[in-house]
């Protein structure tokens, strides 16, 4: 399942990439011409040949896949003038770190709030969380980013732009400036995390309310089980089901969906690179990033399936039968 899925995705990605008119060379020439350079037809053809763009896209696709499989070579980024993989590796570590932090933040904050809201339905706390939740969902991320950076600037004199300070960029991340790095993670985490947080809160709250009103909760209460056991042993486990199946989506959306916020906050993660690559028709780079994401979605789905099977024996049972 795993490999065909990824092959199909990569093919579709490649197909879509070549749909817009032109290619990297034509957009490159357009830029150069705007700056007053003159190109002859031969120059253009030579450039195309040099980048391998003179062949048709299906050929190029198979070339590309072949090289990935045989040599682990993901092609060449026109814009960076370097192999695609090295461009990606620049940011892969940090992107994964940021994504995981944001995911952890999302779930660690929203699941307890969701439980609280369900257990104290229509209490002031529930209303406050609901209000904040909707506000957070309705506010565009980039706007929230700007507001938070402004607040940070007025309070501390530093907008905390980017994940690294200038010194960090020169000296690299060490133990002594790790604290600062964490500080710089705060705003991005809040900005990118809140969007998902609100959704998860709503889901957990609704699910918990639903589960708490189920007959089995009443049965448990009738046999003298404490409220805490009812909530945590029975209801929560059932309520987390849809959250677990949403895991795959959130993994990839955090990876790519936060491009605008990342640009606004000058985060050196993958999103903005993909955005640039798509704009300049840097085919192999864009293709590879999209494919990494596809792989992540597949991995996420796998993880969430495992989690679901662990949470719900009925799913295990169906698997065994089929």
């Amino acid at each position: 399942m795993f490999i065909p899925t990824i092959l199909i995705i990569s093919f579709v990605v490649f197909f879509i990439m070549q749909l817009p008119k032109g290619d990297y060379v034509s957009s490159y020439i357009a830029r150069m011409q705007a700056e007053g350079e003159v190109f002859t037809q031969e120059d253009i053809a030579a450039l195309r040949a040099q980048y391998g763009l003179d062949k048709n896209w299906v050929m190029r696709y198979f070339d590309w896949v072949f090289k990935i499989i045989t040599k682990g070579d993901f092609g060449y980024s026109f814009a960076y003038g370097r192999p695609v993989w090295s461009v990606i590796m620049d940011r892969l570590g940090i992107t994964i770190a940021v994504s995981l932090t944001i995911m952890a933040f999302t779930y660690l904050v929203s699941i307890p709030i969701g439980i609280y809201s369900a257990l104290h339905q229509y209490s002031p706390g529930d209303y406050i969380f609901t209000a904040i939740g909707f506000l957070g969902m309705a506010t565009p991320n980039f706007l929230l980013a700007i507001i938070l950076m402004y607040l940070s600037f007025t309070w501390t004199g530093d907008p905390l732009l980017g994940l690294f300070s200038n010194e960090m960029l020169q000296e690299g991340i060490h133990l002594y400036n790790f604290g600062e790095f964490l500080q710089r993670m705060i705003i991005p985490t809040i900005v990118i995390g809140t969007a998902g947080t609100c959704g998860v809160i709503r889901t957990v709250r609704a699910q918990m309310l639903d589960e708490l009103s189920r007959q089995y909760a009443l049965t448990a209460r009738a046999k003298g089980v404490s409220e805490a056991t009812i909530v945590y042993k029975y209801c929560l486990r059932a309520a987390l089901n849809p959250v677990a199946s949403g895991l795959a989506g959130s993994l990839s959306s955090i990876f790519s969906g936060s491009t605008i916020s990342a640009i606004v906050m000058n985060l050196s993660i993958q999103g903005p690179v993909l955005y640039e690559a798509l704009k300049t028709q840097d085919t192999y780079l864009a293709g590879t990033i999209l494919m990494t994401q596809a792989v992540l979605v597949v991995i996420g789905t796998l993880l969430s399936d495992i989690l679901l099977a662990w949470l719900d024996p009925r799913i295990r049972f169906e698997r065994k039968r089929s």
């Binding site: 007959q215 049965t219 448990a220 046999k223 003298g224 029975y234 719900d312 049972f317």
Partner: protein, 358 residues
């Protein structure tokens, strides 16, 4: 009247419900779902609670365990003969507190109507039965497992060792109901509340489950509050019957008397409809004309007034009849029958009632 009874043979009484009222606040107003219910159950006795859908049977039974939703405002007294602490008003205990939790499942337990949804799908049957054993009997894993297994065998679950580790979705409805009964009885309770325990099951399985309950009752010497729609099963199961209508008990009597001399027009209707042979089950259950009104802004007078074939205008829609004793253990709340002791519904008692009201 109830008070006196307790003084007379207080030793035998397991549960005494006094003036139980349950109001539910809703957007449309206050729903007076249970309106002053009185009954008591003796050791080893089976009391049937019968009535149409929505008359408040389940609310009453859940109130005994204190497991109604918060919005159900409950007043009155639910006096239970607890282990060790004597007579305790369960209503005075905090519904989430430790005391009531030691009553639930151990001294009073409950079997629900739909076994299919009564278990959590996420844990094995054994886990869920054993939870009860471990809460109330022993923390020792091995011992409690043995006790649970023994009870599973006792309720007729074949292959109990294997079944213990299976999930609810691997059980049939009848087997689940057996498991639910095992869970209810594993701590040897004094009182079992069975809320329509067989309604969701096939007819043949219904009979088996009822038989099982009777056997176990004898073995364990417990009292049963048996809730049902079906007067047929009442005859087979119960010692006494309380007939409920619109949140009130309208008639309460030993089983024999209810069938031989039903005093309330509603009870008469119920019994009449049971005896019509050859009709389909659905129709047979309740073929009294009209429907139960919703207990919102009830008019004064008898709750059954609108549907009653024997109503007396100017009496029944003015004053609500009280539960009055007709003969030993047989009481009825009806203007037609009240006042004339020992009379099993006479045709001219209506006139007397009218005089009374004036």
């Amino acid at each position: 009247m109830e008070e006196k009874k307790i003084e007379n043979d207080g030793k035998d009484i397991v549960l005494d419900v006094r003036d139980l009222r349950i109001n539910i606040e809703m957007d449309e107003g206050t729903l007076t779902a249970v309106r002053g219910v009185n009954f008591s159950i003796k050791k080893g006795e089976t009391l049937g609670l019968v009535g149409e859908s929505g008359c408040g049977k389940s609310l009453t039974s859940k109130a005994i365990l204190g497991i109604n939703e918060k919005k159900c405002k409950t007043t009155g007294q639910i006096v239970f003969d607890t282990d060790g602490r004597g007579m305790v008003d369960l209503l005075s205990l905090s519904p989430k507190g430790k005391e009531i939790r030691q009553v639930r499942g151990k001294q009073i337990s409950m079997v629900f109507q739909e076994p299919m949804v009564a278990f959590s799908p996420l844990y094995t049957i054994g886990n869920q039965i054993n939870e009860c054993t471990r809460l109330h009997i022993t923390k020792d894993r091995k011992k409690s497992r043995e006790i649970s297994l023994e009870m599973m065998k006792k309720v007729g679950i074949a292959n109990a060792e294997k079944r213990y580790d299976q999930y609810p979705h691997e059980f049939s409805g009848g087997m689940l109901q057996r498991a639910l009964i095992a869970m209810a009885l594993v701590c040897n309770p004094k009182l079992l509340i069975a809320d329509e325990p067989t309604t969701a099951l096939d007819v043949t399985i219904q009979a088996q489950i009822l038989e099982l309950m009777k056997e176990l009752q004898k073995d364990l010497n417990m009292a049963i509050l048996f809730i049902t729609h079906d007067l047929g099963t009442v005859a087979a199961m119960c010692d006494r019957v309380a007939v409920m209508y619109l949140g009130k008990i309208v008639e309460i009597a030993p089983v024999k008397d209810i069938y031989a001399a039903p005093a309330h027009p509603y009870t008469q209707g119920l019994i009449g409809s049971v005896h019509k042979i050859g009709t389909k089950k659905e129709e047979r259950l309740f073929s009294i004309e009209g429907t139960v009104p919703l207990a919102l802004n009830l008019p004064p007078g008898c709750g059954f007034y609108e549907r009653c074939g024997k109503r007396i205008e100017g009496v029944c829609n003015v004053k609500e009849p009280e539960l009055t004793e007709l003969s030993d253990g047989h009481a009825v709340a009806c203007h037609l029958c009240g006042g004339c002791q020992g009379c099993a519904f006479g045709a001219n008692s209506g006139e007397e009632a009218k005089k009374d009201a004036e």
